[in-house]
Amino acid sequence: MAPGPARERRGEDGAGAMTGLLDGLGRRALEILRVLGHHATFLVDLLRACPVALRRPYLVIAQIHAIGNLSLVIILASGLAVGFVLALQMYYALVTYGAAESLGLIVNLSLTRELGPVVTALLFAGRAGTSLTAEIGLMKAGEQLAAMDMMAVDPRSRVLAPRFLAGLVSMPILAVLFSSIGILGAYVVAVLLIGVDAGNFWSIMQSGVDVRRDIGNGVIKSIVFGFICTFVALYQGYEAKATPEGVAHGTTRTVVIASLGVLMMDFVLTALMFSTP
């Protein structure tokens, strides 16, 4: 008779813990769904605001200047550095197989397929994404967005959509420039410094690189990454808490989420694009 109530109590405790666990699980699942739904409605609002924003092209152009032009230096410098290093490393690896002439091909494929879009997107998230988040977060903290709403100006079409479109336009251009300058950097190191034959460098590259498959897919990747980076930056800025901490938090989250999103999406896109030989 003695163990009866004890077991009952233990059973009750177990049930309590169980429901607690279920509560937590359910709460977390609902939270994930809520965040996803929030993202989706934000995206729909953003896309709906885009045609309105296109009617004021100057807003978009000014944002392309802020996002694209001003990112140009860091993108070009990084592309050149990556091209240099890639050529040097590949040369050390290839020269043992007597295949140093294939250097151009390897550098080109790795840049146009992977490194160009991905590294540009990571730099873009750091350089332009954070500034977008901080700008919009501070606009919100200063109640500028609310003021716009009061004046019957939709902040989505006036503030968010031009930045979104500018990100979509800038990112592929930056990625293409990154790849181009990287190939030129590899040319400088391989041909001018090491002395790989220039004719072979270009001709092997040309015979191995396909415009649609390699360069076209790279451009598609960079458009997708531009979408991810800009969307995450705008969302984090728009949904940031209207405090200094909130803006700081949003800026950090922009870099983390955009970088992880880009890297994961890159794997998916690569698997889809290059699975067939």
Partner: protein
């Protein structure tokens, strides 16, 4: 900064992007040299295509005249069926033969065309049976070893006699 100068800078930026794309397409890829526009198709049957790949070049006298368009297996003959897209301005006599060759020792494989002498020319859609398979290194080595072994078996005293001068060559 004025409105005009920002527009100019953005124009330069977009122009730079286009220049980069043109550079990638023309200088770093094969858009200019072979767009695959004006070609006719030939179908060739090979016993063994080796490591031939789609888009491998078709060469005659070392000059690229076309590309491999597709590769599949004939389910009845168990032969490799290779479709070749040849430039329209290059014509070959109908008794020409095709070979699968390797560029360099470890290079990629390509289809070589040995021109014949017939009056009639190959036309689009023709099927070619006069082909020579790719050289498979393993069968080459085993052929060599078997001929070596045959030579050694024929010689009465293997320790004393040096291999015949012509025996080892293949």
């Amino acid at each position: 900064m004025g409105k005009k100068s920002i527009e100019t800078f953005v124009g330069i930026f977009v122009l730079l992007g286009m220049a980069g794309l043109v550079f990638l397409a023309l200088k770093a890829a094969n858009l200019g040299s072979f767009s695959g526009g004006d070609t006719y198709t030939l179908t060739a049957y090979f016993d063994n295509i080796g490591a031939l790949k789609v888009r491998a070049p078709v060469r005659s006298a070392g000059v690229t005249v076309g590309r491999v368009a597709s590769i599949r297996l004939d389910p009845k003959l168990y032969q490799g069926v290779v479709e070749l897209a040849i430039n329209r301005d290059v014509q070959f006599p109908s008794d020409s033969s095709l070979r699968i060759l390797t560029s360099g020792l470890l290079g990629d494989q390509y289809v070589g065309v040995e021109p014949g002498a017939a009056e009639k020319m190959w036309a689009g859609g023709d099927t070619i049976k006069q082909t020579q398979s790719a050289v498979v290194l393993e069968s080459l080595i085993s052929q060599f070893l078997f001929s070596k072994a045959a030579d050694a078996g024929g010689a009465p005293a293997p320790a004393a006699s040096a291999p015949g001068p012509s025996g080892g060559k293949k």
